[in-house]
Symmetry: none
Subunit: 182 residues, 2 copies
Amino acid sequence: MSIDVGEHLRAVRLMYGLSQRELAKRAGVTNGTISLIEQNRVSPSVSSLKKVLDGVPMSLAEFFTLDLQANAQVFYRREELTDIGDRDVSLRLVAAKHPNRAMSIMHERYRPRADTGADMLTHKGEEGGVVIAGRIELTVGGQTRILGAGDAYYFASSVPHRFRNVGDEACEIVSASTPPTF
Amino acid sequence: MSIDVGEHLRAVRLMYGLSQRELAKRAGVTNGTISLIEQNRVSPSVSSLKKVLDGVPMSLAEFFTLDLQANAQVFYRREELTDIGDRDVSLRLVAAKHPNRAMSIMHERYRPRADTGADMLTHKGEEGGVVIAGRIELTVGGQTRILGAGDAYYFASSVPHRFRNVGDEACEIVSASTPPTF
DNA sequence: CTAAACTGTCGATTATCCTAAACGCCTTCT
DNA sequence: AGAAGGCGTTTAGGATAATCGACAGTTTAG
């Protein structure tokens, strides 16, 4: 669970296409320092590590959480998306197992007559999306509108809202919400 | 934007109800060390900070990320989305004029051979999306993959990345990123 | 093929951090 | 009152990290 600071710094540096000297120059330290850190022959002080990362630039928080992100899955085949919906509404979540996501991105599919219910949804955060195919009736607060392919929406999730497929073909939407509800 | 390591450590320690000596004992360092760090009279080495945090216990990543943590328009017709792209890449932004948005949601369209460039993109935050039609080559850090309709991606935007339409039909994507770049 | 400019590494010196042991202050107990 | 034990702070000195400068190997230019 503990990270290899040296190897990690080297990976970051190479990811940004910098040489030890180039990074050292930007960071205002000597190339030797970076060499020694990368070999784990020293454990840098937080202040000097910060100085080095400023040259990238990258924050300490990013640096120490990077390995989670690096090891995290980036690409998801259609079949790999995690479906958290029910029979009438399919909600296929991107990066479901990604820890500490900042958003939930979902590929949604509403069957004809599918409905999130007369009890309007309300929760924290903001959400928005783009309709890909079919037609959906969206109610937000007092407003109701039918959206078709290419149309979009964005609102504060605290306002009561409801999705309803009033057409007779399935409706497809890609949506995002933050902070992640799922 | 940089964190005050000393004050931060003190806050963590007090949050766990530990005295300097108690934490020092658990961590295997001296109480003086903790005192000096909390006063910012020294900048601890990463290894000794790790040792101290092991006594809590808390990871370096947790330590550095700890405090990171209505009248507007709701519906947008396809034509109302604000296009901020160029000739080869169309980026149609949802709720462009919405003040203080938490996310950018975009309906993207890449022409055949469109490319975000060999100079990889890097910026703050996280981004993800779902491919609607066509095929796109996505490079994130060292990994490259070709995604087709229904496939998805999610990654930290600080990792260098590049989008490239390697097919001969247009590629369509719905994406989201936070915090909003546009 | 040579020269110049780059790469990463390494030894000796300087600067910084960590420890051990004291200090003063406060509370508790006899 | 006096002793014992808690707290955070401070100082001196040994341990560790950062710098400076030199080194060898590789790549680019002429």
